[in-house]
Protein backbone atom coordinates (compact mmCIF):
# COMPACT_ATOMS: atom_id res chain seq x y z
CA UNK A 1 0.00 0.00 0.00
CA UNK A 2 1.29 3.39 -0.97
CA UNK A 3 1.82 6.16 1.60
CA UNK A 4 2.61 9.86 1.58
CA UNK A 5 4.37 11.97 4.20
CA UNK A 6 3.90 15.71 4.64
CA UNK A 7 5.37 18.28 7.02
CA UNK A 8 3.59 21.57 7.69
CA UNK A 9 5.94 24.09 9.26
CA UNK A 10 3.98 26.82 11.03
CA UNK A 11 4.86 29.70 13.32
CA UNK A 12 3.68 27.68 16.36
CA UNK A 13 3.88 23.99 15.45
CA UNK A 14 5.72 21.61 13.19
CA UNK A 15 3.12 19.02 12.12
CA UNK A 16 4.03 15.86 10.25
CA UNK A 17 1.54 13.34 8.95
CA UNK A 18 1.39 10.13 6.97
CA UNK A 19 -1.48 9.66 4.47
CA UNK A 20 -2.77 6.42 3.03
CA UNK A 21 -3.73 5.85 -0.60
CA UNK A 22 -7.08 7.54 -0.10
CA UNK A 23 -5.33 10.68 1.12
CA UNK A 24 -6.43 10.24 4.73
CA UNK A 25 -4.10 10.97 7.65
CA UNK A 26 -3.20 7.69 9.35
CA UNK A 27 -0.61 9.02 11.78
CA UNK A 28 0.81 12.32 12.88
CA UNK A 29 3.46 13.89 15.06
CA UNK A 30 3.97 17.40 16.35
CA UNK A 31 6.88 19.48 17.62
CA UNK A 32 6.93 23.08 18.80
CA UNK A 33 8.42 25.48 16.29
CA UNK A 34 9.62 27.65 19.17
CA UNK A 35 10.89 30.35 16.89
CA UNK A 36 13.03 32.33 16.81
CA UNK A 37 15.51 29.47 16.63
CA UNK A 38 18.29 28.74 14.13
CA UNK A 39 16.89 27.17 10.96
CA UNK A 40 18.95 24.05 11.57
CA UNK A 41 17.37 23.39 14.98
CA UNK A 42 13.89 23.79 13.50
CA UNK A 43 14.73 21.52 10.58
CA UNK A 44 16.13 18.86 12.93
CA UNK A 45 12.75 18.85 14.70
CA UNK A 46 11.06 18.54 11.30
CA UNK A 47 13.15 15.42 10.71
CA UNK A 48 12.22 14.07 14.15
CA UNK A 49 8.49 14.72 13.57
CA UNK A 50 8.63 13.04 10.16
CA UNK A 51 10.40 9.97 11.59
CA UNK A 52 7.89 9.74 14.44
CA UNK A 53 4.90 9.97 12.08
CA UNK A 54 6.36 7.27 9.84
CA UNK A 55 7.04 5.02 12.81
CA UNK A 56 3.50 5.45 14.14
CA UNK A 57 2.17 4.53 10.71
CA UNK A 58 4.38 1.45 10.66
CA UNK A 59 6.17 2.45 7.48
CA UNK A 60 9.81 2.88 6.50
CA UNK A 61 10.90 6.20 5.00
CA UNK A 62 12.41 4.14 2.16
CA UNK A 63 8.90 3.20 1.02
CA UNK A 64 8.11 6.83 0.25
CA UNK A 65 8.67 8.26 -3.21
CA UNK A 66 9.28 11.69 -1.70
CA UNK A 67 8.50 13.81 1.36
CA UNK A 68 6.57 17.09 1.01
CA UNK A 69 7.00 20.26 3.04
CA UNK A 70 4.93 23.44 3.40
CA UNK A 71 6.76 26.47 4.77
CA UNK A 72 5.62 30.08 5.24
CA UNK A 73 7.30 32.78 3.17
CA UNK A 74 8.85 32.98 -0.24
CA UNK A 75 9.76 29.42 -1.23
CA UNK A 76 11.47 28.30 -4.40
CA UNK A 77 10.05 24.86 -5.18
CA UNK A 78 12.61 24.34 -7.93
CA UNK A 79 15.61 24.25 -5.63
CA UNK A 80 13.96 23.83 -2.21
CA UNK A 81 15.32 27.12 -0.84
CA UNK A 82 13.34 29.27 1.58
CA UNK A 83 14.28 32.61 0.09
CA UNK A 84 12.73 34.59 2.88
CA UNK A 85 10.33 33.87 5.71
CA UNK A 86 9.24 36.79 7.79
CA UNK A 87 7.53 34.62 10.43
CA UNK A 88 10.49 32.32 10.95
CA UNK A 89 13.25 34.86 10.34
CA UNK A 90 14.66 32.53 7.64
CA UNK A 91 16.77 33.91 4.84
CA UNK A 92 18.10 31.73 2.02
CA UNK A 93 17.72 28.44 3.84
CA UNK A 94 18.40 25.30 1.70
CA UNK A 95 15.58 23.40 3.40
CA UNK A 96 14.96 20.85 0.65
CA UNK A 97 18.57 19.73 0.54
CA UNK A 98 19.01 19.70 4.33
CA UNK A 99 15.94 17.54 4.90
CA UNK A 100 16.65 15.24 1.93
CA UNK A 101 20.14 14.56 3.32
CA UNK A 102 18.77 13.56 6.71
CA UNK A 103 15.61 11.74 5.61
CA UNK A 104 17.19 9.94 2.69
CA UNK A 105 14.29 10.76 0.37
CA UNK A 106 13.74 13.49 -2.21
CA UNK A 107 12.02 16.48 -0.56
CA UNK A 108 9.54 18.81 -2.27
CA UNK A 109 9.14 22.23 -0.65
CA UNK A 110 6.31 24.71 -1.24
CA UNK A 111 4.86 27.82 0.33
CA UNK A 112 2.49 26.68 3.08
CA UNK A 113 -0.60 28.46 1.73
CA UNK A 114 0.04 26.94 -1.70
CA UNK A 115 0.49 23.50 -0.15
CA UNK A 116 -2.77 23.85 1.81
CA UNK A 117 -4.58 24.92 -1.37
CA UNK A 118 -3.15 21.88 -3.14
CA UNK A 119 -4.50 19.72 -0.31
CA UNK A 120 -8.03 21.08 -0.84
CA UNK A 121 -7.50 20.63 -4.58
CA UNK A 122 -6.60 16.94 -4.38
CA UNK A 123 -8.37 15.78 -1.23
CA UNK A 124 -10.85 18.46 -0.10
CA UNK A 125 -13.37 20.98 -1.40
CA UNK A 126 -11.90 21.02 -4.91
CA UNK A 127 -11.17 17.31 -5.30
CA UNK A 128 -13.72 16.81 -8.10
CA UNK A 129 -12.09 15.67 -11.35
CA UNK A 130 -13.66 18.54 -13.30
CA UNK A 131 -11.98 21.22 -11.19
CA UNK A 132 -8.75 22.44 -12.81
CA UNK A 133 -8.66 26.13 -11.79
CA UNK A 134 -9.11 26.68 -8.08
CA UNK A 135 -8.49 29.50 -5.61
CA UNK A 136 -8.24 28.80 -1.87
CA UNK A 137 -8.81 31.73 0.48
CA UNK A 138 -8.03 31.56 4.20
CA UNK A 139 -9.69 34.12 6.45
CA UNK A 140 -7.42 34.18 9.47
CA UNK A 141 -5.08 36.68 11.08
CA UNK A 142 -4.54 37.75 7.49
CA UNK A 143 -6.18 36.77 4.22
CA UNK A 144 -4.14 34.03 2.59
CA UNK A 145 -4.43 32.83 -0.96
CA UNK A 146 -3.45 29.72 -2.85
CA UNK A 147 -3.79 29.63 -6.61
CA UNK A 148 -4.08 26.40 -8.62
CA UNK A 149 -4.29 26.92 -12.39
CA UNK A 150 -4.57 24.09 -14.89
CA UNK A 151 -4.01 21.67 -12.04
CA UNK A 152 -0.71 23.24 -10.97
CA UNK A 153 0.28 25.57 -8.15
CA UNK A 154 0.82 29.08 -9.54
CA UNK A 155 3.50 30.97 -7.64
CA UNK A 156 4.48 33.69 -10.10
CA UNK A 157 7.88 34.33 -11.60
CA UNK A 158 9.54 34.96 -8.25
CA UNK A 159 7.52 32.45 -6.15
CA UNK A 160 5.89 35.36 -4.28
CA UNK A 161 2.61 35.48 -6.22
CA UNK A 162 -0.86 34.72 -4.95
CA UNK A 163 -0.83 37.45 -2.30
CA UNK A 164 -4.54 37.89 -2.78
CA UNK A 165 -5.03 39.57 0.59
CA UNK A 166 -2.78 42.43 -0.45
CA UNK A 167 -5.13 43.65 -3.14
CA UNK A 168 -6.42 47.15 -2.40
CA UNK A 169 -10.23 47.28 -2.47
CA UNK A 170 -10.55 50.66 -0.72
CA UNK A 171 -7.86 53.01 -1.98
CA UNK A 172 -6.65 55.24 0.85
CA UNK A 173 -8.49 53.08 3.39
CA UNK A 174 -7.44 51.18 6.49
CA UNK A 175 -3.66 50.76 6.89
CA UNK A 176 -2.43 47.23 6.19
CA UNK A 177 0.56 45.46 7.72
CA UNK A 178 2.09 45.36 4.23
CA UNK A 179 2.39 49.15 4.03
CA UNK A 180 -0.50 49.73 1.62
CA UNK A 181 -3.82 51.30 2.55
CA UNK A 182 -7.16 49.60 2.01
CA UNK A 183 -6.01 46.02 1.36
CA UNK A 184 -8.65 43.31 1.26
CA UNK A 185 -6.89 41.71 4.24
CA UNK A 186 -7.41 44.82 6.38
CA UNK A 187 -11.19 44.29 6.10
CA UNK A 188 -11.79 40.61 5.32
CA UNK A 189 -9.40 38.92 7.78
CA UNK A 190 -10.49 37.99 11.30
CA UNK A 191 -8.26 40.86 12.44
CA UNK A 192 -10.19 43.21 10.14
CA UNK A 193 -13.55 41.94 11.37
CA UNK A 194 -12.44 42.41 14.99
CA UNK A 195 -11.36 45.97 14.22
CA UNK A 196 -14.69 46.77 12.57
CA UNK A 197 -16.51 45.22 15.55
CA UNK A 198 -14.56 47.42 17.96
CA UNK A 199 -15.21 50.54 15.88
CA UNK A 200 -18.91 49.77 16.05
CA UNK A 201 -18.79 49.22 19.82
CA UNK A 202 -17.10 52.56 20.37
CA UNK A 203 -19.81 54.23 18.28
CA UNK A 204 -22.65 52.24 19.90
CA UNK A 205 -22.25 52.14 23.68
CA UNK A 206 -25.68 50.46 24.03
CA UNK A 207 -24.99 47.62 21.61
CA UNK A 208 -25.28 44.05 22.91
CA UNK A 209 -21.80 43.58 21.46
CA UNK A 210 -20.49 44.99 24.75
CA UNK A 211 -22.24 42.26 26.70
CA UNK A 212 -20.92 39.56 24.39
CA UNK A 213 -17.40 40.87 24.94
CA UNK A 214 -17.77 41.13 28.72
CA UNK A 215 -17.56 44.91 28.40
CA UNK A 216 -13.97 44.57 27.22
CA UNK A 217 -12.79 45.57 23.74
CA UNK A 218 -9.83 43.22 24.05
CA UNK A 219 -12.21 40.25 24.35
CA UNK A 220 -13.76 40.81 20.92
CA UNK A 221 -13.06 37.94 18.53
CA UNK A 222 -14.08 36.88 15.03
CA UNK A 223 -17.38 35.43 16.28
CA UNK A 224 -18.57 38.40 18.36
CA UNK A 225 -20.32 40.28 15.55
CA UNK A 226 -21.95 37.13 14.14
CA UNK A 227 -23.17 36.19 17.64
CA UNK A 228 -24.51 39.73 18.16
CA UNK A 229 -26.36 39.58 14.86
CA UNK A 230 -27.96 36.28 15.86
CA UNK A 231 -28.98 37.90 19.18
CA UNK A 232 -30.83 40.57 17.18
CA UNK A 233 -28.40 43.46 17.70
CA UNK A 234 -28.54 46.10 14.94
CA UNK A 235 -24.98 47.35 15.29
CA UNK A 236 -23.71 43.76 15.11
CA UNK A 237 -25.79 43.09 11.99
CA UNK A 238 -24.28 46.17 10.39
CA UNK A 239 -20.76 44.99 11.21
CA UNK A 240 -21.48 41.59 9.65
CA UNK A 241 -23.05 43.27 6.63
CA UNK A 242 -20.01 45.52 6.11
CA UNK A 243 -17.71 42.54 6.59
CA UNK A 244 -19.50 40.46 3.98
CA UNK A 245 -19.57 43.38 1.55
CA UNK A 246 -15.80 43.77 1.84
CA UNK A 247 -15.29 40.01 1.55
CA UNK A 248 -17.51 39.96 -1.56
CA UNK A 249 -15.66 42.89 -3.15
CA UNK A 250 -12.34 41.06 -3.07
CA UNK A 251 -13.87 37.72 -3.94
CA UNK A 252 -15.62 39.15 -7.00
CA UNK A 253 -12.33 40.76 -8.03
CA UNK A 254 -10.67 37.35 -7.86
CA UNK A 255 -13.48 35.73 -9.84
CA UNK A 256 -13.33 38.45 -12.51
CA UNK A 257 -9.58 37.94 -12.80
CA UNK A 258 -9.37 34.13 -12.70
CA UNK A 259 -12.88 32.81 -13.44
CA UNK A 260 -11.88 29.59 -11.68
CA UNK A 261 -14.09 26.54 -11.29
CA UNK A 262 -14.20 27.00 -7.53
CA UNK A 263 -13.16 29.33 -4.73
CA UNK A 264 -13.00 27.86 -1.23
CA UNK A 265 -13.05 29.73 2.06
CA UNK A 266 -11.16 28.45 5.09
CA UNK A 267 -10.21 29.80 8.51
CA UNK A 268 -12.25 30.46 11.65
CA UNK A 269 -14.78 32.81 10.03
CA UNK A 270 -15.63 30.20 7.39
CA UNK A 271 -17.23 28.15 10.19
CA UNK A 272 -20.15 30.60 10.09
CA UNK A 273 -21.24 28.56 7.05
CA UNK A 274 -24.48 29.76 5.48
CA UNK A 275 -24.62 32.94 7.58
CA UNK A 276 -21.58 33.89 5.55
CA UNK A 277 -22.11 32.05 2.26
CA UNK A 278 -25.71 32.98 1.47
CA UNK A 279 -25.34 36.79 1.53
CA UNK A 280 -21.85 36.49 0.01
CA UNK A 281 -23.14 34.56 -3.00
CA UNK A 282 -25.96 37.07 -3.39
CA UNK A 283 -23.52 39.94 -3.87
CA UNK A 284 -21.18 37.96 -6.12
CA UNK A 285 -24.15 36.85 -8.26
CA UNK A 286 -24.93 40.50 -8.94
CA UNK A 287 -21.35 41.58 -9.63
CA UNK A 288 -19.52 38.69 -11.34
CA UNK A 289 -18.62 39.89 -14.85
CA UNK A 290 -19.54 36.43 -16.18
CA UNK A 291 -22.92 36.40 -14.42
CA UNK A 292 -24.75 36.05 -17.75
CA UNK A 293 -22.61 33.11 -18.84
CA UNK A 294 -23.61 29.48 -18.53
CA UNK A 295 -20.58 28.42 -16.49
CA UNK A 296 -20.01 30.17 -13.19
CA UNK A 297 -17.45 30.01 -10.40
CA UNK A 298 -18.73 28.12 -7.37
CA UNK A 299 -18.00 29.28 -3.82
CA UNK A 300 -17.68 26.67 -1.05
CA UNK A 301 -16.32 26.21 2.45
CA UNK A 302 -12.98 24.38 2.59
CA UNK A 303 -13.12 20.82 3.94
CA UNK A 304 -9.77 19.91 5.45
CA UNK A 305 -9.46 22.49 8.23
CA UNK A 306 -6.02 22.62 9.81
CA UNK A 307 -5.04 19.34 8.15
CA UNK A 308 -4.94 20.99 4.71
CA UNK A 309 -1.30 21.97 5.20
CA UNK A 310 -0.05 18.48 6.06
CA UNK A 311 -2.24 16.78 3.45
CA UNK A 312 -1.25 19.24 0.72
CA UNK A 313 2.45 18.95 1.58
CA UNK A 314 2.20 15.16 1.49
CA UNK A 315 0.56 15.26 -1.95
CA UNK A 316 2.91 17.79 -3.60
CA UNK A 317 4.20 15.08 -5.93
CA UNK A 318 0.73 13.89 -6.99
CA UNK A 319 -1.17 15.11 -10.05
CA UNK A 320 -4.95 15.15 -10.32
CA UNK A 321 -6.59 12.79 -12.79
Amino acid sequence: MRHYLGIDLGGTNIAAGVLDESYRIVSSAVRKTACPRPAQAIMDDMVAAAREAAEKAGIQLEELEYIGVGCPGSVNPENGFIQFSNNLAFYDVPMGEYLADRLGRPVLVENDANAAAYGEFLAGAASGEEIRNFIAITLGTGVGGGVILGGKIYGGSNHAGGELGHMVIQAGGRPCTCGRKGCWEAYASATGLIETTRESMRANPDSQLWKLADGDLSKVNGRTAFDGMRAGDDAAAQVVHAYIEALAAGLTNIINIFQPDLVSLAGGISKEGDALLVPLREIVDKEDYARFGSQRTRIAIAQLGNDAGVIGAALLGVKKG
Copy 2:
Protein backbone atom coordinates in the same frame (compact mmCIF):
# COMPACT_ATOMS: atom_id res chain seq x y z
CA MET B 1 9.62 31.14 -46.34
CA ARG B 2 7.00 30.67 -43.67
CA HIS B 3 4.08 33.10 -43.26
CA TYR B 4 1.31 33.71 -40.75
CA LEU B 5 -2.12 35.26 -41.28
CA GLY B 6 -4.15 36.97 -38.57
CA ILE B 7 -7.55 38.64 -38.51
CA ASP B 8 -8.44 41.17 -35.81
CA LEU B 9 -12.19 41.70 -35.63
CA GLY B 10 -13.00 45.00 -33.94
CA GLY B 11 -16.13 47.05 -33.40
CA THR B 12 -15.10 49.42 -36.22
CA ASN B 13 -12.75 47.53 -38.53
CA ILE B 14 -11.90 44.04 -39.66
CA ALA B 15 -8.12 44.02 -40.07
CA ALA B 16 -6.26 41.14 -41.70
CA GLY B 17 -2.49 40.90 -41.98
CA VAL B 18 0.21 38.55 -43.19
CA LEU B 19 3.42 38.24 -41.14
CA ASP B 20 6.77 36.96 -42.29
CA GLU B 21 9.05 34.64 -40.34
CA SER B 22 10.32 37.51 -38.20
CA TYR B 23 6.76 38.33 -37.14
CA ARG B 24 6.59 41.55 -39.15
CA ILE B 25 3.46 42.56 -41.06
CA VAL B 26 4.19 42.34 -44.80
CA SER B 27 0.68 43.00 -46.10
CA SER B 28 -2.69 43.98 -44.74
CA ALA B 29 -6.31 44.50 -45.73
CA VAL B 30 -9.21 46.20 -43.99
CA ARG B 31 -13.00 46.03 -44.16
CA LYS B 32 -15.57 47.96 -42.15
CA THR B 33 -17.22 45.90 -39.45
CA ALA B 34 -20.36 48.00 -39.92
CA CYS B 35 -22.13 46.36 -37.03
CA PRO B 36 -24.85 45.59 -36.23
CA ARG B 37 -24.88 43.13 -39.12
CA PRO B 38 -25.61 39.40 -39.21
CA ALA B 39 -22.58 37.40 -38.09
CA GLN B 40 -22.42 35.70 -41.49
CA ALA B 41 -22.04 39.00 -43.37
CA ILE B 42 -19.25 40.09 -41.02
CA MET B 43 -17.51 36.72 -41.33
CA ASP B 44 -17.75 36.85 -45.14
CA ASP B 45 -15.89 40.18 -44.99
CA MET B 46 -13.31 38.56 -42.71
CA VAL B 47 -12.78 35.94 -45.42
CA ALA B 48 -12.47 38.67 -48.07
CA ALA B 49 -9.95 40.64 -45.98
CA ALA B 50 -7.89 37.50 -45.36
CA ARG B 51 -7.84 36.61 -49.04
CA GLU B 52 -6.83 40.17 -49.98
CA ALA B 53 -4.01 40.26 -47.43
CA ALA B 54 -2.71 36.90 -48.69
CA GLU B 55 -2.87 38.04 -52.30
CA LYS B 56 -0.99 41.27 -51.51
CA ALA B 57 1.71 39.22 -49.80
CA GLY B 58 1.93 36.96 -52.84
CA ILE B 59 1.11 33.83 -50.89
CA GLN B 60 -1.46 31.06 -51.27
CA LEU B 61 -3.71 30.26 -48.31
CA GLU B 62 -2.64 26.63 -48.76
CA GLU B 63 0.88 27.58 -47.61
CA LEU B 64 -0.45 28.53 -44.17
CA GLU B 65 -0.52 26.04 -41.33
CA TYR B 66 -3.52 27.83 -39.82
CA ILE B 67 -5.25 31.22 -39.71
CA GLY B 68 -5.68 33.07 -36.39
CA VAL B 69 -8.57 35.28 -35.33
CA GLY B 70 -9.07 37.71 -32.45
CA CYS B 71 -12.66 38.55 -31.58
CA PRO B 72 -14.15 40.65 -28.76
CA GLY B 73 -16.27 38.91 -26.14
CA SER B 74 -16.35 35.48 -24.58
CA VAL B 75 -14.57 33.17 -27.00
CA ASN B 76 -14.06 29.41 -26.61
CA PRO B 77 -10.72 28.68 -28.25
CA GLU B 78 -11.32 24.94 -27.96
CA ASN B 79 -14.25 24.86 -30.38
CA GLY B 80 -13.98 28.27 -32.07
CA PHE B 81 -17.38 29.46 -30.85
CA ILE B 82 -18.04 33.09 -29.96
CA GLN B 83 -20.19 32.39 -26.93
CA PHE B 84 -21.20 36.00 -26.52
CA SER B 85 -19.99 39.33 -27.84
CA ASN B 86 -21.63 42.40 -26.44
CA ASN B 87 -19.99 44.75 -28.98
CA LEU B 88 -20.96 42.71 -32.03
CA ALA B 89 -24.28 41.37 -30.73
CA PHE B 90 -23.01 37.81 -31.42
CA TYR B 91 -24.42 34.88 -29.53
CA ASP B 92 -23.13 31.33 -30.00
CA VAL B 93 -21.51 31.95 -33.38
CA PRO B 94 -19.42 29.01 -34.71
CA MET B 95 -16.81 31.38 -36.13
CA GLY B 96 -13.91 28.94 -36.28
CA GLU B 97 -15.83 26.37 -38.29
CA TYR B 98 -17.43 28.93 -40.62
CA LEU B 99 -14.10 30.55 -41.49
CA ALA B 100 -12.25 27.23 -41.78
CA ASP B 101 -14.84 25.99 -44.28
CA ARG B 102 -14.39 29.04 -46.48
CA LEU B 103 -10.65 29.57 -46.14
CA GLY B 104 -9.74 25.90 -46.37
CA ARG B 105 -7.32 26.13 -43.44
CA PRO B 106 -7.66 25.34 -39.72
CA VAL B 107 -8.74 28.48 -37.84
CA LEU B 108 -7.74 29.35 -34.27
CA VAL B 109 -10.03 31.82 -32.48
CA GLU B 110 -9.24 33.79 -29.32
CA ASN B 111 -10.57 36.75 -27.39
CA ASP B 112 -9.11 39.88 -28.99
CA ALA B 113 -7.46 41.23 -25.82
CA ASN B 114 -5.85 37.84 -25.23
CA ALA B 115 -4.65 37.71 -28.83
CA ALA B 116 -3.16 41.21 -28.56
CA ALA B 117 -1.40 40.23 -25.33
CA TYR B 118 -0.04 37.16 -27.09
CA GLY B 119 1.27 39.44 -29.85
CA GLU B 120 3.21 41.53 -27.33
CA PHE B 121 4.37 38.28 -25.71
CA LEU B 122 5.84 36.82 -28.89
CA ALA B 123 6.75 39.88 -30.94
CA GLY B 124 6.57 42.98 -28.73
CA ALA B 125 7.36 44.26 -25.25
CA ALA B 126 7.47 40.75 -23.74
CA SER B 127 9.26 38.94 -26.53
CA GLY B 128 12.38 38.20 -24.46
CA GLU B 129 12.97 34.46 -24.02
CA GLU B 130 13.08 34.75 -20.25
CA ILE B 131 9.54 36.16 -20.00
CA ARG B 132 7.01 33.38 -19.27
CA ASN B 133 4.43 35.18 -17.12
CA PHE B 134 3.16 38.41 -18.65
CA ILE B 135 0.18 40.72 -18.16
CA ALA B 136 -0.86 43.17 -20.88
CA ILE B 137 -2.98 46.14 -19.83
CA THR B 138 -4.71 48.41 -22.33
CA LEU B 139 -5.79 51.85 -21.13
CA GLY B 140 -8.51 52.77 -23.59
CA THR B 141 -12.26 53.33 -23.42
CA GLY B 142 -12.06 50.63 -20.78
CA VAL B 143 -9.16 48.87 -19.08
CA GLY B 144 -8.47 45.62 -20.91
CA GLY B 145 -6.33 42.79 -19.68
CA GLY B 146 -4.57 39.87 -21.29
CA VAL B 147 -2.97 37.23 -19.10
CA ILE B 148 -0.15 34.93 -20.28
CA LEU B 149 0.98 32.38 -17.67
CA GLY B 150 3.69 29.83 -18.27
CA GLY B 151 3.75 30.93 -21.90
CA LYS B 152 0.05 30.23 -22.46
CA ILE B 153 -3.01 32.46 -22.66
CA TYR B 154 -5.00 32.14 -19.43
CA GLY B 155 -8.75 32.52 -20.03
CA GLY B 156 -10.22 30.90 -16.93
CA SER B 157 -12.56 27.95 -16.75
CA ASN B 158 -15.29 29.68 -18.76
CA HIS B 159 -13.06 31.70 -21.13
CA ALA B 160 -14.24 34.92 -19.45
CA GLY B 161 -11.26 35.46 -17.14
CA GLY B 162 -8.70 38.24 -17.25
CA GLU B 163 -11.24 41.02 -16.71
CA LEU B 164 -8.62 42.98 -14.83
CA GLY B 165 -10.43 46.31 -15.32
CA HIS B 166 -13.39 45.03 -13.36
CA MET B 167 -11.48 44.76 -10.11
CA VAL B 168 -12.86 47.13 -7.47
CA ILE B 169 -10.14 49.37 -6.03
CA GLN B 170 -12.49 51.88 -4.39
CA ALA B 171 -15.44 50.03 -2.84
CA GLY B 172 -18.60 52.11 -3.18
CA GLY B 173 -16.87 54.46 -5.62
CA ARG B 174 -17.55 55.58 -9.17
CA PRO B 175 -20.19 53.51 -11.00
CA CYS B 176 -18.75 51.20 -13.66
CA THR B 177 -20.43 50.07 -16.88
CA CYS B 178 -20.29 46.50 -15.49
CA GLY B 179 -22.67 47.31 -12.65
CA ARG B 180 -20.09 47.41 -9.86
CA LYS B 181 -18.92 50.54 -8.06
CA GLY B 182 -15.29 51.60 -7.89
CA CYS B 183 -13.80 49.37 -10.60
CA TRP B 184 -10.22 50.07 -11.67
CA GLU B 185 -11.58 50.77 -15.16
CA ALA B 186 -13.76 53.61 -13.86
CA TYR B 187 -10.60 55.48 -12.82
CA ALA B 188 -7.73 54.17 -14.92
CA SER B 189 -9.31 54.08 -18.40
CA ALA B 190 -9.17 57.08 -20.72
CA THR B 191 -12.88 57.47 -19.98
CA GLY B 192 -12.09 57.58 -16.27
CA LEU B 193 -9.30 60.12 -16.77
CA ILE B 194 -11.62 62.31 -18.84
CA GLU B 195 -14.27 62.16 -16.12
CA THR B 196 -11.73 63.12 -13.44
CA THR B 197 -10.51 65.98 -15.66
CA ARG B 198 -14.07 67.28 -16.06
CA GLU B 199 -14.73 67.02 -12.31
CA SER B 200 -11.63 69.11 -11.73
CA MET B 201 -12.68 71.70 -14.32
CA ARG B 202 -16.08 72.11 -12.71
CA ALA B 203 -14.37 72.64 -9.35
CA ASN B 204 -11.68 74.94 -10.79
CA PRO B 205 -13.22 77.51 -13.15
CA ASP B 206 -9.85 79.30 -13.43
CA SER B 207 -7.83 76.25 -14.42
CA GLN B 208 -5.96 76.32 -17.73
CA LEU B 209 -7.71 73.04 -18.45
CA TRP B 210 -10.63 75.13 -19.71
CA LYS B 211 -8.42 76.83 -22.27
CA LEU B 212 -6.97 73.50 -23.41
CA ALA B 213 -10.51 72.21 -23.95
CA ASP B 214 -11.71 75.35 -25.78
CA GLY B 215 -13.98 76.11 -22.85
CA ASP B 216 -15.98 72.99 -23.67
CA LEU B 217 -16.23 70.00 -21.33
CA SER B 218 -17.10 67.78 -24.29
CA LYS B 219 -13.71 68.52 -25.85
CA VAL B 220 -11.73 67.03 -22.95
CA ASN B 221 -9.72 63.99 -23.97
CA GLY B 222 -7.15 61.66 -22.44
CA ARG B 223 -4.33 64.13 -23.11
CA THR B 224 -5.94 67.27 -21.65
CA ALA B 225 -4.82 66.77 -18.05
CA PHE B 226 -1.27 65.75 -19.04
CA ASP B 227 -1.02 68.82 -21.33
CA GLY B 228 -2.34 71.04 -18.53
CA MET B 229 0.24 69.62 -16.13
CA ARG B 230 3.02 70.35 -18.62
CA ALA B 231 1.67 73.91 -18.94
CA GLY B 232 2.12 74.30 -15.18
CA ASP B 233 -1.53 74.12 -14.15
CA ASP B 234 -2.04 72.91 -10.56
CA ALA B 235 -5.51 71.46 -11.03
CA ALA B 236 -4.25 69.49 -14.04
CA ALA B 237 -1.27 68.20 -12.07
CA GLN B 238 -3.64 67.00 -9.36
CA VAL B 239 -5.78 65.19 -11.92
CA VAL B 240 -2.72 63.43 -13.33
CA HIS B 241 -1.53 62.60 -9.82
CA ALA B 242 -4.90 61.08 -8.87
CA TYR B 243 -4.97 59.20 -12.18
CA ILE B 244 -1.54 57.68 -11.63
CA GLU B 245 -2.40 56.77 -8.03
CA ALA B 246 -5.48 54.86 -9.21
CA LEU B 247 -3.52 53.22 -12.02
CA ALA B 248 -0.81 52.21 -9.54
CA ALA B 249 -3.34 50.78 -7.08
CA GLY B 250 -4.71 48.34 -9.64
CA LEU B 251 -1.32 47.59 -11.11
CA THR B 252 0.15 46.77 -7.70
CA ASN B 253 -2.84 44.52 -7.04
CA ILE B 254 -2.10 42.65 -10.24
CA ILE B 255 1.58 42.36 -9.39
CA ASN B 256 0.79 41.07 -5.88
CA ILE B 257 -1.55 38.49 -7.39
CA PHE B 258 0.51 37.31 -10.36
CA GLN B 259 4.11 38.43 -9.72
CA PRO B 260 4.68 38.20 -13.47
CA ASP B 261 7.97 38.90 -15.23
CA LEU B 262 6.50 41.92 -16.98
CA VAL B 263 3.40 44.11 -17.18
CA SER B 264 2.95 46.20 -20.32
CA LEU B 265 0.75 49.25 -20.77
CA ALA B 266 -0.90 50.00 -24.10
CA GLY B 267 -3.55 52.42 -25.34
CA GLY B 268 -3.54 56.18 -25.94
CA ILE B 269 -2.54 57.15 -22.41
CA SER B 270 0.54 54.91 -22.56
CA LYS B 271 1.97 57.35 -25.13
CA GLU B 272 2.68 59.72 -22.24
CA GLY B 273 5.73 57.48 -21.67
CA ASP B 274 7.91 58.58 -18.78
CA ALA B 275 5.41 61.19 -17.55
CA LEU B 276 3.33 58.14 -16.73
CA LEU B 277 5.94 55.45 -16.05
CA VAL B 278 8.28 57.27 -13.68
CA PRO B 279 5.71 58.22 -10.99
CA LEU B 280 3.88 54.94 -11.54
CA ARG B 281 6.99 52.88 -10.84
CA GLU B 282 7.71 55.00 -7.78
CA ILE B 283 4.37 54.03 -6.19
CA VAL B 284 4.62 50.36 -7.19
CA ASP B 285 8.16 50.20 -5.79
CA LYS B 286 6.80 51.24 -2.41
CA GLU B 287 3.79 48.91 -2.43
CA ASP B 288 4.76 45.69 -4.25
CA TYR B 289 4.58 42.88 -1.68
CA ALA B 290 7.75 41.40 -3.19
CA ARG B 291 9.64 44.71 -3.05
CA PHE B 292 12.29 43.20 -0.80
CA GLY B 293 12.87 40.25 -3.11
CA SER B 294 15.64 40.00 -5.65
CA GLN B 295 13.38 39.42 -8.65
CA ARG B 296 10.78 42.08 -9.39
CA THR B 297 8.06 42.59 -11.99
CA ARG B 298 9.08 45.06 -14.69
CA ILE B 299 6.64 47.64 -16.08
CA ALA B 300 7.01 48.75 -19.70
CA ILE B 301 5.10 50.44 -22.49
CA ALA B 302 3.70 48.03 -25.10
CA GLN B 303 5.45 48.06 -28.48
CA LEU B 304 3.03 46.93 -31.17
CA GLY B 305 0.33 49.59 -30.92
CA ASN B 306 -2.80 48.77 -32.91
CA ASP B 307 -1.00 45.98 -34.75
CA ALA B 308 -0.87 43.83 -31.60
CA GLY B 309 -4.27 42.34 -32.41
CA VAL B 310 -3.40 41.19 -35.93
CA ILE B 311 0.09 40.03 -34.95
CA GLY B 312 -1.16 38.14 -31.92
CA ALA B 313 -3.97 36.49 -33.89
CA ALA B 314 -1.52 35.45 -36.60
CA LEU B 315 0.79 33.88 -33.99
CA LEU B 316 -1.85 32.00 -31.98
CA GLY B 317 -0.39 28.68 -33.15
CA VAL B 318 3.20 29.59 -32.23
CA LYS B 319 4.90 28.78 -28.91
CA LYS B 320 7.72 30.82 -27.43
CA GLY B 321 11.17 29.27 -27.23
